[in-house]
């Protein structure tokens, strides 16, 4: 087996494991939600019977939750291990691709996609070590499955040498941070979506159905907001850096630091949208839902920047799409 085959095999393996992980994460969420609902019902019963005062429902809650711990924790175990092993295979696939190509694996859309999805999963695992964000797992592994699947089928390109325009250490600096940001903002995008759904469910306007009861298992809209803000803040600083590094590279390679090439236009749009998001968070009437929508718009622009812009717009960055 050569490195090319190794890379393809491990990446397919990662795709499969992520798919399993996604299902396991989803099942776990549903179970946790069931348990919570059951616990709440048990609380109500207990209160009705008069055994416990409403001020101390937690004893009953815990009792109900611990009565069926195995189903949720089994799914959680499968989810955790498949995600971890998937990420490991993913990493091997990336490194093999890098060895195969003889350069960092982010010089065209295929490579950018396999790296970006890796960073998304990696960001999730790193955050997971610090605090429990397992509720993001289904979204992250779901997006990773789709991205990797698309990369392997539609975007796949054989490894090739770098064109002269990309032969620069700026490829490492500028693009690696861009890919990293994409991964990070993917995680925060999921948090923002959950925030909006959860918020709607809480206020009873939308997403109230039984099939979406998994929303009971995610944290409150306010804590999701806080989580996505922290990720967006890091993402925004890194994106600012990406844009600046890109400008410095453009100055080296093309003789101008900014020329409103389509890729530059969209990088600017992304930056402005996230800046708007940061302002919206502190503006009356915009904090909460509307600012979450802005973060989602920023993420959509980020994705558009390396799909639509690469595929349909002519510009100096065109080689990235080939």
């Amino acid at each position: 087996m050569n490195v090319t085959e190794l890379s393809i095999m491990t990446l397919w393996g990662a795709t499969t494991l992520y798919a399993i992980a996604m299902v396991a994460h989803a099942i776990r969420l549903a179970r946790v939600a069931d348990d919570k609902v059951a616990a709440r019902a048990a609380d109500r019963e207990a209160v009705a019977v008069g055994g416990a005062s409403p001020a101390e429902p937690s004893a009953a809650t815990e009792a109900a939750a611990s009565s069926r711990p195995s189903r949720a924790s089994k799914a959680a175990g499968i989810a955790r291990s498949t995600t971890m092993v998937g990420a490991l295979l993913h990493a091997v696939g990336l490194v093999a691709r890098g060895i195969d190509a003889g350069h960092v694996p982010w010089s065209n859309m295929y490579e950018y996609t396999i790296s970006g999805s890796f960073f998304a999963v990696a960001a999730f695992l790193v955050i997971q070590r610090r605090r429990d964000v397992a509720f993001l797992g289904a979204g992250v592994t779901g997006i990773a499955t789709v991205a990797l699947g698309l990369a392997m089928t539609v975007l796949y390109k054989d490894a090739d040498t770098l064109p002269p325009a990309l032969q620069s250490y700026w490829l490492v600096i500028h693009v690696s941070i861009a890919v990293l940001v994409t991964g990070l903002l993917t995680v925060s995008f999921i948090a923002s979506v959950l925030q909006l759904m959860r918020d709607s469910r809480d206020s009873g306007t939308r997403w109230t159905g039984r099939r979406l009861r998994f929303l009971e298992a995610v944290p409150s809209a306010a804590s999701l907001e806080a989580l996505s803000f922290r990720l967006n803040a890091v993402g925004f600083v890194l994106w600012t850096f990406t844009v600046m590094a890109g400008a410095i590279w453009a100055e080296h390679a093309w003789g101008r630091y900014w020329g409103w090439d389509p890729k530059e236009v969209w990088s600017f749009v992304i930056w402005v949208l996230y800046a708007a998001y940061l302002h919206a968070r502190t503006t009356q009437g915009w904090a909460g839902r509307r600012s979450a929508w802005l973060a989602i718009a920023g993420y959509a622009a980020l994705i558009a920047n390396f799909t639509v812009v690469n595929l349909f717009f002519q510009g100096l960055h065109t080689y990235a799409g080939s």
Partner: protein
């Protein structure tokens, strides 16, 4: 805790009439956070057409084509600035307003911040119950407990502590309790101000750059040189305040150009080997490649393109040389199929001659078509179509060297009455039908397109960019929190109450509160 709302500049009620009142009202609106937000959104939206529609500054040819192809939309979009979005009046208006708003916003905030810095820390609130306080008993006296907490909250040495640490105040209240109030966050606001101010700096540096910048493009054939002077450039642009006399007349000679391609015609490496000579200086050998411009005299010389410049000799009917020299051909595809135009006005007899030509570096003739299969000059062939008549060079209007004005020319036809295709291999000569003369393909040097550019604003831009990034990081990551420790002695024991206030996303505040609490209750810091 409640989210901080910084919407300080919105006027709630309608203004009274009067010109100055209106002015003030407009100013307040412009500098309100909500307007800044909307302007940001409008700015993002307004940029998008700049990536969707062809733009004059980026691609004039495609834009001209677009206008020609769309009889209604073309001229309309052009007139309304949509084909030069980033130079349009409305785009400029948006960002000028945004920056007006920005300056109007940060100036009062900077003043406020300065005053805030000089104001003493506010005392701890008398009732902490709103802030989820935690009580603990401590073996220390009230004074010692607070002192220990203060020491724990003190900035740690060597970690920019003086900037990031808490400002602290201790009060001995009348009821005998000792209250400590500690706050951090001024650095955050400072970072925010630096960030916004740096954006203004960035814009000013850009404006300065556009006034003094210059950029010229020159095509240089192997073996030839180029002198840095406005007239020597094929195209030259400069800012309004640029002084052409300031150009240093150095020369750059293209000794050779290395181009390497893979078997699949992917470019691997381009490098121009040049000799650079300052006026009165010694010649120096240098190289210029993609991503590695040559730095000269405050400017940089970039390798922007390359191609072939076949040396062609045209002889007229009398056998006299009507033209001889290298002609840069423009590459049309990845295998360097290149097109060019040869003009031979100086015929000794008869009408002027002109040619449109296609070069195939590695020529291959198939059953239906001819093509080049590799960019390297393995089997170079040029196909020409000849024209006779008036080249139109005497009108005084500068002509495009890559186009043949055919309005007063007629094609040279072969025996079959069709325009005659002349095919010439390297080193060969072909006859032009009708005894009009000959064309010789002498040799095949390469040319490079060199871009010389100077922008005196670059160091300022870089400084502003770094300040922007630093300010932003501080503004987003420096914590803004308040911590209170209140100690009182009750029946011989000391009760310590600790509470903290921070935004919802501040996960670190918990640790700080616990650190203060542990210190106040006499526990030692875990190392």
């Amino acid at each position: 805790m409640a989210r901080m709302k910084l919407d300080n500049y919105v006027v709630p009620e309608a203004p009274r009439l009067g010109f100055r009142g209106w002015l003030r009202w407009i100013w307040r609106q412009v500098t309100s956070m909500r307007v800044a937000l909307i302007l940001l959104l409008v700015l993002a939206l307004a940029s998008i057409p700049g990536s969707v529609l062809p733009q004059w500054p980026q691609d004039a040819a495609a834009t001209a084509q677009f206008v020609a192809d769309h009889a209604f939309w073309g001229p309309l979009l052009d007139a309304t600035g949509f084909l030069d979005v980033f130079g349009s009046a409305w785009f400029t208006a948006i960002y000028v307003l945004l920056f007006a708003s920005l300056i109007g916003c940060i100036t009062p905030r900077a003043i406020l911040h300065y005053r805030e810095l000089r104001r003493p820390v506010a005392p701890a609130p008398s009732r902490l119950s709103r802030y989820e306080p935690v009580d603990a008993s401590s073996p220390l006296t009230a004074d010692d407990a607070v002192e220990a907490a203060r020491a724990a909250l003190r900035p740690r040495a060597g970690r920019l502590g003086a900037l990031t640490g808490s400002r602290v105040r201790v009060d001995r209240r009348d009821d005998g309790t000792v209250a400590l109030a500690a706050e951090t966050g001024h650095i955050r606001e400072l970072g925010n101000l630096v960030f916004h101010a740096s954006l203004v700096l960035l814009l000013v540096a850009m404006a300065y750059g556009t006034l003094f910048t210059y950029r010229g493009q020159a095509i240089v054939v192997e073996g030839r040189s180029f002198t840095n002077a406005v007239v020597a450039y094929d195209t030259f642009d400069s800012g309004r305040l640029f002084d052409p006399a300031s150009l240093d007349p150095f020369t750059i000679r293209l000794d050779s150009f290395d181009a390497e391609f893979s078997d699949t015609a992917r470019p691997l490496h381009f490098q121009a080997n040049v000799t650079f000579t300052e006026p009165g200086g010694e010649p120096v050998e240098e190289t210029i490649s993609v991503n590695h411009p040559l730095e000269v005299d405050g400017a940089k010389v970039y390798l922007q393109g390359n191609g072939y410049a076949p040396v062609i000799t045209v002889r007229d009917a009398a056998g006299e040389i009507a033209f001889s020299g290298p002609v840069p051909f423009l590459p049309q595809d990845a295998v360097y199929t290149s097109t060019g135009v040869i003009k031979a006005p100086d015929v000794s007899t008869g009408e002027q001659l002109g040619f449109t030509a296609t070069l195939y570096p590695t020529f291959l003739e198939g059953p239906f078509a001819v093509a080049s299969i590799h960019p390297d000059p393995t089997n170079p062939v040029i196909d020409l179509l000849a024209y006779v008549g008036d080249l139109g060079l005497d009108t005084g209007i500068p002509q495009n060297v890559y186009r043949l004005d055919q309005s007063q020319l007629s094609p040279v036809r072969g025996d079959d009455g069709q325009p005659a295709l002349l095919r010439v291999n390297l080193g060969e000569t072909v006859d032009i039908p009708g005894g009009l003369g000959t064309v010789t393909f002498e040799s095949l040097p390469r040319f490079v397109a060199l871009d010389l550019r100077a922008d005196p604003s670059l160091p300022y831009l870089l400084t502003a960019a770094i300040l922007t990034l630093l300010g932003l990081s501080v503004s987003l990551f420096a914590p803004r929190r308040k911590v209170w420790v209140v100690a009182r002695e009750e029946d011989g024991t000391t009760v310590v109450t600790v509470a903290a206030l921070a935004p919802a996303h501040d996960a670190g505040v918990q640790a700080v509160r616990e650190r203060a609490s542990r210190a106040a209750t006499g526990e030692r810091e875990p190392e």
